[in-house]
């Protein structure tokens, strides 16, 4: 034995030999990282490179930034973007907070209905709101007089952008705030009651501090969503320039990649900041609530409950008014002169303007993302969370998986142009194909899919893999027999998320489509530009209707999946 006893430190650290099944895992992990590097990191780095080069490709440092800030028109766009986003945040957050408060802290009836109706804005491209507000307040708007009475001269510009953005960011802010407000500990309120605390004091000493991180998070997300949105300012912005429309004009209109890159980085900054703060805040929020917390259950308070119901009713009616106007306008002959029923906008849009093919493209894209994105996000998350080895790679891949949340679609699309349109890139042949649209969209929405998968996987016992190894069952068998069946509900969620977002996205793909791969949401933009607002409304409604149907289909699918794979969750019948 003595010869076998070697000084352990003299030899460096011993390493465990790798089982062949673990090598499979390592290979897959490498593949996922490679995908993220090529389709996320490299394009983003290209923006940085472009922003520091002149037209001939020579390094010029910060000269492009200096030139940008000295161009008054462009600097004004920067300011416009900032103040409009601030106003939207300041209005949308309190409005969403009260709504979230009603959903979580009152005994308001029909909460499910209210909650579902607030999801309407997610079903269609953001520009649907802009189109609808043009019908309400535009040059021939129904309520134009009301608007003038308020002293607003025209809906085109900041006012239109602000109201449309409030409509479209509302569900995003609401979701975060509802989560923040439901993470409350009833025992705190009971303790306060025992001490005879007034309702107002309870609100300011328990509720508000408890939701503080949710409020910060929701505000940042709202700000970032508004400042990077492209569809709304394009449709209703008029001559009011913002960063996102500037990027498009610079890159597509003037082919000025360098200045486009600079504006892109300005767009990336607030989003990156949001991401960093949010990351920090999320950790705090979960740490705040102990496992023993008792969930808060609201008690009846007639006056408060009715007030809350009234408020939510107003909000939901406003939302329905936005959607309803678009629906109505899409079915009338000539707004506002001839309001008789017609399908001509649909026919014109689908047939004459060839949105039909674009629509098929959109469905193809959405289906490909729903399948490919789900597969990639789930397998990626599984490899990260549940397999062993390659530790040096893991934190990098984790960061890459989180990064898309911080990257506005416009910036990602910009990076794709710079990277894949580069003549020296062997992947150049992907440019203008459906494949690149699919990959770009998957990457764009990757983080939410990834996080959903991680959450589902974290709920599983960490020792499954260790037990499998001890029983000499390779990890992929356990993945197939145990992990996947348990996580099917999460898979359905992830897949729906990818589908709906792929149907409605504009920002990233607007840089990447070719005449053959034009998407429905982009076709709407083109219809609007051509002055065919009726057809644009019709097509937007078509997308919203498709999304709704798909959601219902997913609901049915979720129910079926539950029935088939989740029997073990139910207690014994005997």
């Amino acid at each position: 034995m003595s010869a076998a006893v070697l000084a352990p430190h003299a030899l460096g650290l011993p390493r465990q030999s790798v089982h062949w099944s673990d090598r499979v895992g390592h290979g897959l992990l490498l593949a996922v990282s490679l995908l993220l590097v090529v389709f996320l990191l490299a394009p983003l780095l290209m923006i940085l490179v472009q922003s520091a080069e002149d037209k001939e490709g020579a390094f010029v440092g910060l000269a492009n930034f200096a030139a940008y800030l000295q161009t008054p028109a462009l600097a004004r766009s920067l300011w416009n973007s900032v103040w409009v986003s601030l106003v939207v945040t300041l209005v949308a957050i309190p409005a969403a907070f009260v709504f979230a408060y009603a959903l979580t802290r009152s005994c308001m009836p029909a909460k499910g209905v209210f909650r579902t109706l607030t999801l309407i804005p997610l079903l269609a491209p953001t520009l649907l709101a802009a189109i609808s507000f043009i019908y309400w307040f535009g040059n021939q708007g129904v309520l134009k007089q009301w608007m003038l009475a308020l002293g607003i001269q025209s809906i085109y510009g900041a006012p239109g952008i602000i109201v449309s953005e409030i409509f479209s960011v509302f569900p995003h802010a609401l979701m975060i705030l509802v989560t923040a407000l439901s993470l409350s500990d009833a025992r705190l309120y009971e303790a306060a009651d025992a001490l005879g605390t007034s309702a107002v004091r309870k609100f300011f000493t328990i509720t508000l501090p408890g939701a503080k991180y949710g409020l910060i998070s929701a505000s940042l997300v709202t700000f970032a969503l508004v400042i990077t949105d492209f569809g709304i300012p394009k449709v209703i912005g008029g001559n009011f320039n913002v960063l996102s429309t500037d990027v498009f004009k610079l890159v597509i209109g003037q082919q000025d990649f360098q200045r486009g890159a600079v504006v892109g980085l300005f767009l990336l900054a607030p989003a990156l900041l949001t991401f960093a703060v949010d990351f920090f805040v999320q950790g705090r929020q979960t740490a705040q609530l102990s496992a023993r917390a008792v969930p808060y259950a609201p008690r009846r308070a007639p006056l408060f409950d009715w007030l809350m119901t009234g408020y939510c009713l107003v909000v939901v009616l406003l939302m329905l008014a936005v959607l309803g106007m678009a629906v109505f306008a899409s079915f009338v002959k000539l707004w506002p002169y001839n309001l008789s029923f017609t399908l001509k906008h649909y026919v014109f849009g689908l047939v004459d303007a060839e949105v039909g093919t674009a629509f098929v493209n959109s469905l193809t894209l959405a289906a490909a993302c729903a399948i490919g994105g789900t597969l990639l996000a789930f397998v990626g998350a599984y490899l990260l969370e549940k397999t062993r080895g390659f530790d040096w790679l893991r934190s990098g891949v984790r960061l890459l998986a989180m990064l898309p949340m911080a990257v506005p679609g416009l910036v990602l699309g910009l990076g794709y142009i710079f990277f894949f349109n580069h003549p020296d890139n062997p992947l150049h042949l992907l440019y203008h194909t459906m494949t690149i649209l699919v990959l770009c969209t998957i990457v764009h929405f990757y983080t939410t899919g990834h996080l959903t998968a991680v959450t589902a996987l974290k709920a599983l016992d960490n020792d499954f893999e260790a037990v499998s190894a001890s029983l000499k069952v390779p990890f992929f068998k356990t993945f197939w027999r145990v992990t996947l069946p348990i996580c099917t509900p999460a898979l359905v969620d992830i897949s729906r998320y990818f589908f709906i977002n792929a149907m409605t996205t504009i920002s990233a793909v607007v840089f990447l489509y070719s005449p053959d791969t034009k998407l429905a949401a982009i076709a709407i933009l083109n219809l609007d530009e051509a002055g065919e607002i009726g057809a644009a409304a019709a097509m937007a409604i078509l997308i919203a209707a498709t999304s709704t149907l798909v959601c219902l289909a997913y609901l049915a699918l979720g129910w079926l999946v539950d029935l088939r794979t989740q029997a073990w969750r139910r207690p014994a019948l005997n």
Partner: protein
Amino acid sequence: MAAAEPSPAFLDLTGIHKQFGKFEALKNIHLSIRRGELVCFLGPSGCGKTTLLRIIAGLEMQSGGSIVQSGRDISTLPPALRDYGIVFQSYALFPNLSVSSNIAYGLVNRRTAKAVVAARVKELLQLVGLPDSGPKYPNQLSGGQQQRVALARALATSPGLLLLDEPLSALDALERVRLRGEIRSLQQKLGVTTVMVTHDQEEALTMADRIVVMNQGAIEQVGTALEIYREPASPFVADFVGKVNVLDAVVEGGGRLRVGTCVFQCADPAQAGAIGSGTRIYLRPEDILSRGVIDGEPNSAMGRITRIEFLGAVCLARVALEGMEAQPVTVYFSLNDIREAGIAEGSRLGFKVLADRIRVFPVAAQAG
């Protein structure tokens, strides 16, 4: 490595060392486990016992040292190439598979015929006392039942080594006592070499053939339950296992130790140390008696009871022995003693200390 004299050890750990960054989780662990015995790793949380178990399982990689199981060097083998079954505190049963499928999980992969697998599953269900639970899902069973299934799953492939990582900690008190008896008799019936990690000394004392007491990444003592309890090798062991009175004393020579003005004679003078040096006496409460004390006999003193704590069949009394009131001791009384002798708080009576039970550790040994 000649086979001339086969080692009686089934599992040999030599110089196991584990470093997490700057933290030394395990320091130079040497341990030999015999075939068929049940060994408990006992220690407070953070002592490295679970890390050591995970290193044996290959779930953690040691920074140095070697592991030989059944004559085979497994130091660098991945878990799948080692030979063990493992049971975790969390059960780690696959929730979407029936109890039978869980138990058969490792068998199916070995391309065993279906009928053979079914027979083996039936046999194991019998063995763990759950003959009718095969078609149920894990969440339809109680915690103790789930842990029995986990045990059956680990034993299904007849591994040479069974690893139990705090298998009883998630169970309620009654179930824990019942299951620890079952695990022990099952282990003895099958004769499977078993390593169990626990922080519960009662579990270790009742189940183990040998106990490995660990503290701060090192082994403090290896021995049977009685050895650990009666002859603790270090102050830590004396303190961690069972209750103990710790008294500051001065060595007087001839095996005499002075506490306050009381003088105790210990049976083994070699233990005591240099005359005049400070030392510590470790004395279990049950080694201080109050029955049959003859006035003036060695190692005896009068004492006053300052407090009585009722625990059920026994009571804990705080006693201030005359001459060492600054260091009161804890003594056990049975409930009957208290009633028959009319003992109450404030009572004064004679006590004696069993000389052969006095353990002495010099103050220097306390460090680390």
